[in-house]
Every structure is written in structure tokens, then in C-alpha cells.
Amino acid sequence: FDMACNSSGCESGGCYGREKENGCKVVDVKETVRLCVKCKSNEPMTFGDGGSDDGRFCAECFRSNVYGKFRLAVTSHAMITPSDNVLVAFSGGSSSRVALQFVHELQVKALKNYEASRDRSLPVFGVGVAFVDESAAYPSLSGGMSDAIELVRSTVLSLSPPEKDLHVVTIESVFGSESVEARDRLVKLLDSVSDETGKEDLLLHLKMLSLQKVASENGYNRLVVGSCTSRLASHVLTATVKGRGYSLSADIQHVDARWKVPIVLPLRDCVWQEITRLCHLDGFDSLKTVELARHPQSGINDLVSSFVALLQEENPSRECTIVRTAAKLTPFYFNKIPETDDSCVPMATQRRLKKFNLKYDGSMTTEAFCPICNGPLNGSDSSEDESDALYAACCSSCRFQILPQEPSSLDHFGSLLPHHMISQVKHHQKFDSQTYLREKIKDCLLLDDEEAV
């Protein structure tokens, strides 16, 4: 006997057995007339997927709930402002499809306002789409790749006006070209990583590098990533089991501005169930072949995903609790949109950003970062007496699961890494905090070192 509660104060799935405490009504499921609990006028949607909240909202209210979370995230974190040029990372999966859809709808609204306004003061932000072809890393994908790309292309075409550029890049583009040599180099690099999980993670880092490259080479100043609550919950656990507790809080915020092109996560507060239901509702095709063929089944990342799925069965709000706990960890200074001297940002926007402390001073760089994963380094991890610069520069997790264990192989491994990762190492090697600080304050110093007491 299902006891659904219609009280607006009730959280989903949490009402069973508590009806005496907060006085909500018990509704007999067998009643013939059931209405959406929000608008009270339409018939509620039943997704029949065994998930929570099924049969409470009508299609429109459900959709507006999810879109509402997206929009709230965007505005409260200044993710997208009128002068921005936004690149949406699109994998073809459900999450990024929803992200793309919502960003498009936001853009359409902005265009409508622009055309309706008299003074045309607020420009409409630009949107582009990027798709990374990983078939060099996962040969099983190559067969279906051209079809997948066609599907991506037609999807992007259907989302206009306003028109959006599509950038299809291969993962080996991180090496500067998309040639056979680049492909070979990628294969060699991945083969030299013996740890299965390390290989998967290295590929993720390379994928991010390739997205950053597309974004900065094409004038985008924001990268939208469709990570949802569920994906972040898995990340919290994988980071924990890999000893990455220090850098974890950097990865799970709404904004990650460590990168040249800051990353924003507008779907961070939406759960996987909402996303799949929305895709079902709107009839989005997902590139299932691309998604499924991608993942080998033997590493830690998959073990954690299965574990989270198990926990979700036991309690459907577990993912949210995990992310909520991790959200209590202290974020980093770069988990906000960086302040840039951008005169084309409208004054009203600038004032708002300043008022709510949504930006930080981009010149402040107090953290050192791992050249491979870009994770902030914990002071206690550094070992300055290491003979190899790459080893010394990396975090302990990358040292273990990505770098080769033989010290003699480190040089060769370093030569296979993309230039962007290695150039950071040289910088780190020279990093001397005393010199660095002195550089910053030298204008104010009156005496030379030798003369100072």
C-alpha cells in the first residue's frame, strides 16, 4: 500500500511512516483523479522506471523543476554572462545532451530579450559545441565513429537559431596535430601506463586538455561540462580511494577556474534520474554505442560506480548526501569565476559580480599544481630531493598510477606527454617561494638583500 504524501513540505521518499509527525495527508493511490503536485492542473507523468518521485509531477512541471536548477546554478555562480563565449563539451551522452539543450534555451531567451529591447545593451552570449573523438584510445569505437559524428552534427544543426559552431577534434590533437604520428604517440603513451585505472584517468586528463585547446584556440572563455550530482558522487569516492582527499574539493564545485578556460558545471545539482527522465521526455537520442564501447570493466572507477549504484538501491538519496558532504569541504580560491580586466562586460553585470563576491583576483596563484591531473598539491606531499623533475612535480596519486615505476623510464615517459603538461614541470622546478615572493614585492623594497639585516 503506497503512501504518497502531497504535502509541499515533504521531501521525496522520506515521508513513509512519518505522517503522524508533520500532519500530511495520506492519499490512496487507487483514486482515479490524480493531479500534478505542483501546478495541480495537469495529469502527472509516470516514468515507470522504479525511481522516486514517479507520478508526482506533470511533464511541464518536471521539466521546469530541472531547468530551474540549471538556471539557478548559472545565475548564482555567474557561469554565463552576456559577453561570454561558451563552449559546451558534448559527448553524446544524456548529461551533456541536457546541458546543451538548456544552454541553447537560455541563449534563445537571451536572443528574444535582445531583439525586444530598445537599446540592445545586453549582447547575447555565444555558444559552440565540442566533441572529442577518442577512437585512437579505444579502437573499438572507430567503426561507429563517423555515424556518431553525423548524429552530433545533426543535433547541433537542429539547435538553431542561434547558430552554433561544432568543433570535432580527436584526442590526439593534444599533441598539436591530428596526424598518424600523433595517433601513434597517444597509443605509445597509454601503453606505457601499466595501471588500468591510471590509464583511464590519464585519458580523462588528455580529454580535458584537448577541450581546453579547442576552447582557447577558438576564442571561447567558458567551458560547460554536463557533470551531474551522480557523476560527482562517484568522483568523491574515486578521489578518496586514490588518496586525492586534498584536491577533491577543487573538482566538485560549480566553477573550476584552474584552467585557462574556466569550467562550469550547471547540472551539478541535478541527479542522473532526472536527466534520463528528461531525455526520455524530450526524445533525445543518446550515442549509446559511443558510451558503452568506451569503458573497460576492470578498474577502480568501475568498481566505485557499481558501489554507488548498490548504495542508490538501498537509499535513492545517497548520491545527494555524498555530494553534500563533500561540498562541506573547503573549496579553493579558483573555485570562482576569475576577475578579468574586461571592459566589454556590461556595468550592471560587473557591479553584480563584485557585490556577491563571485569573482576572485586572477593574478593570485598560491597553489602549485600537478602537471598531469592539474590537482592542487598538498605541501606535505612534495619531495624536493627527488632527482627527477617530473616525479617531483606530480601528486602522489599520479606518481603511483600514471608515472612508470622504473626511474629510468621517466624521461621517456615525459617525452611522450603533451608539451603543455611538461612545460609546467619546468616551471615548477624553478619554483622557489622566496624568489617568487620577492618578485612580487620588489617594487616596494628599498634595500638589497645584502644590505638588509
Binding site: 595501471d195 585505472t197 568523491v236 569516492l237 578521489a239 578518496t240 580511494v241 586514490k242 588518496g243 586525492r244 582527499g245 586534498y246 577533491l248 574539493s249 576492470s298 578498474g299 577502480i300 568498481l303 558501489f307 548498490l310 548504495l311 538501498e314 545517497r318 548526501t321 555524498i322 553534500r324 558532504t325 563533500a326 562541506k328 569541504l329 573547503t330 598538498n378 602522489s396 596519486s397 603511483f400
Partner: protein, 351 residues
């Protein structure tokens, strides 16, 4: 493989630590080959020295359940106490929760340990302290939140026992697997304050009875191997009421994880130590229980709240998020105590 031939071709491997004796096993953590003698007594000694766990002349109570962790702990500590002249006065402290077919059997093991290791034993029972055995409690509340009751009661029982013995410190056999499980549990359950405390090797330092966990970096597998090689006498059955504990999820996951990557257990602990948690979120306000004088962050300590519920036939009292930020179910005994001062104690026990 022709072992004879291989032996004559190159010298046999020696223990990595002493380089004298033949190795008999591989460390679970590092896959190093070591001899029986060196096997990890020295590593425990290093952990004790490095973390400054004890001072000469201290009276130390070992939380002894008769299980492998506490038996090995008692054995290793008394051995190292002798070998390295720690100068400690060691005691065994055991808690009888009143679980027939489990605790009564394991207590026999502890009584044997008392004789085998020559350490004086003190036993305290839930029946004497609280008027309820776990058997009675489970009869009343069933098998869902029983671990909450047991954990809360045991913590207080250990503190009272320690006071009775007039010891300066309590040591428990929590191993790396336990602590890793606790880190995961606290993430899953949203307890950021506990998350920040649960990886400390010593806790409760500004209270009357500090506790430490010398086995913080020792894998459960290694403790089992040690007990096996040293032929130690211990009781190896799981608590009969435990199968439903939420901790079971974390434990299964960690077993699978260890198979894939052995060092992951230590990596979890490292993550727990490195989490960026603001110091302001760490400690709840310290106070004392109005009813019994035990340390508490609320008006009544958790044990009194739970007891009151039991005595009044309201077993759900104190379970869940109902009042004042209380504990949410789960296995309490592995979590650290709230630091505070204690005033007078009820009953016949003196502080």
C-alpha cells in the same frame, strides 16, 4: 619450477629488514619479503615512537574483546613494552555486552589471555552499568539500529572501566581497514565533523581518557597473518547481530578495492587526513550530561537518551535526525570521542 636449481644459482632472498633470516611471507601492503621475527612488531614500534603514543610510567588499558585485533594488540604491546622498555603498566579491559553465544565465548578467550600474557583483567557488563544486555535490547528493538546502542554504550563503558582502573590511556585494536571503513561511512552519511576526527591516531587528549590506535596503518590481513604465525589464541566469530550493519557495505567494497589495489586502504586514510575541513566545523560544544555526568554535547548524553527510550518502551528515541544533531544509526564504536571535561559520575564509579 626447479627450486633446487634456482637455489644453487643465486643466493636465497633474505628478510628485507634484518637481512639475516629467511623470509616466510610477503607484506600485504608493500609485498616486501620478511621473516617471522621482524614481521611488523618493529613497524608497530615505529608507529608508537613516531606518533609519541606513550610516556614511560603510564598506566594503559587495552580494550580487549578476545577478537584477533585486541589479542594481537595485547601480545604485541606487552612484547614491545618488554623489548624496548616502554615502562608501561598494562591492563586488559573487557566489556560484556550480554550477547549469548558470542560475547560469553569471547570473554573466555580474554580470561585465557590474562593468564597467557600476565596482564590484569577488568570486566564491565552492560547489565551492571545500564541494566540492559544486548540480547534484551535486540529483543525489544530488532536488528536495525542495535549497533547504535551497542556502540554508544560500549564507548561509555570503556571510559568508565578506564576510570575504575585509574589508567592514563586507553588503546584499541582499530586497524587500517576499520579506519578506512569509517572514513567512507562518514562520507556516505554526511558527517563532516566526524570525518575530520576519525583518522587521528590519538583522540580525546584534552579529556580524562585519551585513546590511541597503534594499528592505524596495519592491514587487517596482516593482523590475521601475525596471529596465525605466532599461534595466538583468539576468538574469530563475527557478532551475531552484525549482518545488518550499514558498515557491511563499506567493508565489502574495501575488500574488493584491496584486491584491485592493495595500497588503496592507506590512500583512503590519507585522503581522510588531507580533507580540507574548516576547523570551525570540527568540534561541537562540550558539556556534561545532566543525568549521569558523562561528557556530552547535548543536555543528556547519548547513552542516557537511548536508555531512557528503552526504559520507557520508546526504542526509536535518539535514533535518526530527530533532535539536536544526534547520531544517525550506524556503527558507533569506531568513531572518536568528543573531547571535554567530566564532572561527577553516577553510581558507584569514581573519577
Amino acid at each position: 619450477m626447479e627450486k633446487g636449481e634456482a637455489k644453487s644459482k643465486k643466493p636465497p632472498r633474505l628478510c628485507c629488514i634484518c637481512n639475516e633470516r629467511r623470509p616466510v611471507l610477503k607484506r600485504a601492503k608493500t609485498l616486501q619479503q620478511i621473516c617471522r621475527e621482524c614481521f611488523y612488531e618493529e613497524e608497530i614500534h615505529q608507529a608508537i615512537v613516531k606518533n609519541r603514543l606513550f610516556k614511560s610510567g603510564e598506566r594503559v588499558a587495552i580494550g580487549a574483546s578476545g577478537g584477533k585485533d585486541s589479542t594481537v594488540l595485547a601480545y604485541v604491546l606487552s612484547e614491545l613494552n618488554r623489548r624496548h622498555s616502554y615502562g608501561l603498566d598494562l591492563f586488559l579491559l573487557s566489556i560484556d555486552e550480554g550477547i549469548t553465544g558470542y560475547r560469553d565465548d569471547s570473554l573466555e578467550t580474554v580470561k585465557r589471555n590474562e593468564l597467557q600474557y600476565g596482564l590484569p583483567l577488568q570486566i564491565l557488563s552492560y547489565k551492571d552499568l545500564y541494566g540492559w544486555t544486548m540480547d534484551d535490547i535486540v529483543k525489544m528493538i530488532g536488528l536495525k539500529n542495535n549497533c547504535t546502542f551497542c556502540g554508544v554504550f560500549r564507548r561509555q563503558a570503556l571510559d568508565r572501566g578506564a576510570a575504575l582502573l585509574k589508567v592514563d590511556k586507553l588503546v584499541t585494536g582499530h586497524n587500517a581497514d576499520d579506519i578506512a571503513e569509517t572514513v567512507l561511512l562518514n562520507i556516505l552519511r554526511g558527517d563532516i565533523a566526524r570525518l575530520s576526527r576519525c583518522t587521528s591516531i590519538t583522540t580525546g587528549e584534552d579529556g580524562p581518557i585519551p585513546r590511541c590506535k597503534p594499528f592505524k596503518y596495519t592491514y587487517e590481513k596482516e593482523i590475521v597473518m601475525y596471529a596465525y604465525f605466532k599461534k595466538l589464541d583468539y576468538f574469530s566469530t563475527e557478532c551475531i547481530y552484525s549482518p545488518n550493519a550499514y558498515r557491511g557495505f563499506a567493508r565489502e567494497f574495501i575488500k574488493d578495492l584491496e584486491r584491485l589495489r592493495p595500497r588503496a586502504i592507506l590512500d583512503i586514510i590519507k585522503s581522510g587526513e588531507d580533507f580540507r575541513i574548516a576547523t570551525t566545523t570540527k568540534m561541537p560544544e562540550q558539556g556534561t550530561c545532566e543525568r549521569c555526568g558523562y561528557i556530552s554535547s547535548q543536555k543528556w548524553c547519548k547513552a542516557c537518551v537511548l536508555l531512557d527510550g528503552l526504559n520507557r518502551g520508546l526504542p526509536k528515541m535518539g535514533i535518526g535526525r530527530a533532535r539536536g544533531g544526534g547520531v544517525n544509526g550506524g556503527d558507533h564504536k569506531k568513531e572518536t570521542t568528543v573531547k571535554t571535561l567530566e564532572s561527577k559520575q553516577c553510581g558507584s564509579l569514581d573519577f
